[in-house]
Symmetry: C2
Subunit: 491 residues, 2 copies
């Protein structure tokens, strides 16, 4: 390994950028704003996908696939949707290249201009609802519970690996229902699934809430979200679930005949999480030595490193390692035995710390004599020497411990960095010193929300679902308020 | 179910189009040439993906993700590649829309023109090799064994669902090696994996071979392929594996330092299969009543249909069905119990035939008395009444039988439709009567190959890997030939 990472306290942003690159998660590409997700990073994403996909299917959803391209006119059909999405996007105008008559490679063939331009999907509500029109006639066709795993493109001016990229990978659920109540229940169910995934798999505590009108998805009646706190005190929106009302059904004329034979517009939801979750995972747990991965999402859960002076020792260690590996794999634990002799153990230790492998086993001559192994956990960096008798069970329990421990650490951090604030002066002071989540009263107007944002760069992350009614006055306007909302500066 | 499908003998092409739509596999979208893959079709594709992905990983490959967009100039870097791919493609020229000043929705913002146009990837060699340049320095970095699951776009003028669509889904493997021999071995290994997948999972016998220079991938030194025969006597290329030599390494300046410290260009391969396999699967096995799916790829392997006169009978049948379902699921078999009372059993029988569910169980009052169930297999349409004792085991074995039986039927069909032909007259006669695979002598020149294609629409599908040396004369030119090659009209 080359030079150390920047530390978080020195420069959090640089620390993040360097970590993403050095841990082989992703890198920028030659195409502005688009990333290359490297195999190690992609294997974490695959684990996320598999877990989420299983949860979607358990709740009755099916996957399908809709076109990458959206006719330009579709975007205009839902009035507020076009406001939100038709601005910064990739526009396909031609369908052919031809040899440059001047001999300089290829040029766009002016004769191959599309009659109507195509937009690379920034999200798929329009193309999906235009399809649902043909799929839905009767209440018998409902609910329609569909999810898509896909790439989407939003032309971003300032990009950061995973957090904000022009192209990103995501899943987008799009469901259709016969009643408003059922669609709202679906919206909330998917929010719960996202929260459960964040907490159980990513070890990431999240606040569940509703967005204010300002922060709502373009085309939604209500946007629910999960919000997480990063180590630098900034919030990160980790997933959203939208109740669309009848907006897209109206825009695309999707009606169904109910049991009484009456024609009604269909009720809709959409919900998504993206490769942005990779950014959240990295920023929530990692430290100055590198990644800290929750075992459930770690591509390699256990690495075994032999420490040997000669071939004979290596052979003996390899035998023991093979036995441990076999037992662990039987338990469904992924193991790597790193006997690459091009690198010294110290180098390997640092490398696997950087990569966030949750448990490291080191075995040397002393261990051979004593039938032991040195077990180091990545999250706390503690080490202990453990007997090989029952080692597999020991490691299984340890991995479970680490998963819980990473979650608890993040939860404690969030609790320590969630403040109730009652004046605008204190609000600014907290934001400028420690940051974090701030629970404060707000008068409920978009005007105040925008002014606070202008003056402090803090936004209302959500109205938490578990917020209690409480009399107070808005920190900005002094007007009465009935509940606190969650403010933060955010990614 | 509405009216019957067109029959294969009446109109094979219409039969295929209608089957794809009626069996809920896919449909055309509002975007020219792009398809919507419906949930039932997508679940077959997911099973294909999972099986292939497992095979790739078992042979040491890792997944990664590269950008959707390719800078236009990249396409020109490999001379023959640009010839093959830079023609019909989606070109992104702008990155912003704005409100139409005339109030008609949105228009392309002329101020947001890209300096260099971006091409939606038709295949990713160029963007991947431009990345590999930074990943490869030394022989220690090799081999690099990477696969990507992605969508690609090739602007096709005439499209057909699954077989030829503007956007399609695929996997593309891109590997880098330190020697030519290793890259050739990789190319052949992946061909074997494709053949194994086609035969074991899709129940589709394939001929493995090498393409002639005319049919080679643009940028490859050699293209290996698997070719399958459809029921209408036309061939379908089901997968390709390319040995790229040092072509892309040279174009993108990807060199490595070998063990002696010498700088050398890297050797490459690429290989892919796509949603086209769905077309092959449908056309190879299905019949006039609908899909015939090999059990290993069937989303529902067993359907249970109750036949009842009253609620009491339904309750008793439901109990037995639940017991069978539980046992089958324990064996990893997917089961659906269809007790929807909106439809009659006869309707359901036809519906599941259309959907290609391999095994149908029907249970009525007589079966309750006798502790039996009626077992119907989709492929042969035979029925038998079977005791419920040991029914799960019986069905497990039956599913295995069906898998083998579908394969054998396709193999017999192919054998009956593979002809050795020695004159051009007979060649034309066979093509115009039964079609099929034709093994014939060819003089080895592109000129002859093209003339045969012009006159007969038949192409050389491949030089089969198992072809034996044999003296003969070219059916077209009369010049000497050393081996027969495989001709057919093809999709």
């Amino acid at each position: 390994m080359s030079k150390a990472l920047p530390t978080r306290s020195e420069n959090y942003s640089e620390w993040y950028n360097e970590l993403v690159k050095r841990a082989d998660l992703a890198e920028t590409s030659a195409v502005r704003g688009c990333m290359v997700i490297k195999p190690y990073g992609y294997s974490i994403w695959e684990k996320m996908q598999r877990a989420l996909d299983d949860m979607f299917k358990e709740t009755g959803h099916q996957n399908a696939y809709f076109p990458l391209f959206i006719p330009k006119s579709y975007l205009s059909k839902e009035a507020s949707h076009v406001e939100g999405f038709a601005k910064e996007c990739a526009v396909v105008t031609h369908y052919r290249l031809k040899a440059d008559p001047n001999g300089n490679g290829v040029i766009v063939d002016p004769d191959a201009k599309l009659e109507e331009e195509l937009i690379v999907r920034p999200t798929s509500e329009t193309v999906i609802w235009s399809t649902y029109k043909n799929w839905i006639q009767s209440y018998r066709d409902l609910p329609l519970l569909i999810n898509q795993w896909a790439n989407v493109v939003r032309w971003e001016m300032r990009t950061r690996l995973f957090l904000r990229t022009t192209e990103f990978l995501w899943q987008e659920g799009h469901t259709a229902h016969s009643t408003s109540a059922e669609a709202v229940a679906e919206t909330k169910q998917m929010l719960e699934i996202y929260a459960q995934f964040a907490e159980e798999w990513m070890a990431l505590p999240v606040v569940k809430g509703v967005k204010t009108a300002n922060e709502r998805f373009a085309g939604a009646v209500d946007t629910y979200c999960i919000e997480a706190l990063m180590q630098d005190g900034k919030a990160l929106q980790a997933g959203t679930s939208h109740f669309l009302g009848q907006n897209f059904a109206t825009a695309f004329d999707v009606k169904f005949q109910d049991k009484e034979g009456k024609l009604e517009y269909v009720w809709g939801t959409s919900w998504g999480v993206s490769t942005r979750l990779m950014g959240a995972l990295i920023m929530a747990h990692s430290d100055d030595a590198g990644l800290v991965l929750p075992p459930k999402l770690a591509p390699i859960q256990v690495v075994i490193i032999p420490i040997y002076k000669n071939e004979e020792q290596l052979t003996l260690i390899s035998e023991k390692a093979a036995a441990i590996t076999k037992e662990l794999r039987k338990m469904g634990i992924s193991v790597k035995f790193d006997n690459n002799d091009a690198y010294k153990p110290g180098y390997k230790f640092a490398e696997y710390e950087l990569k966030g492998v949750p448990v490291r086993l080191a075995m040397g001559a002393r261990d051979l004599e004593n039938n032991t192994v040195e077990v180091a956990r990545r999250d706390t960096k503690t080490k202990e020497t453990v007997s090989l008798d029952g080692i597999a069970q020991f490691i299984g329990t340890l991995l479970d411990d680490i998963q819980v421990s990473i979650y608890n650490k993040a939860l404690t951090f969030r609790e320590e960095n969630t403040m109730k604030v009652d004046t605008f002066e204190e609000f600014i002071r907290v934001l400028d010193t420690k940051g974090g989540f701030i629970l404060a009263h707000w008068d409920g107007t978009s005007e105040t929300e925008e002014k606070i944002k202008e003056e402090t760069k803090a936004t209302i992350r959500c109205v938490p679902l578990d917020s209690v009614e409480e009399q107070g006055v808005c920190i900005y306007s002094g007007k009465p308020s009935k509940r606190r909302v969650l403010f933060a500066r955010a990614y």
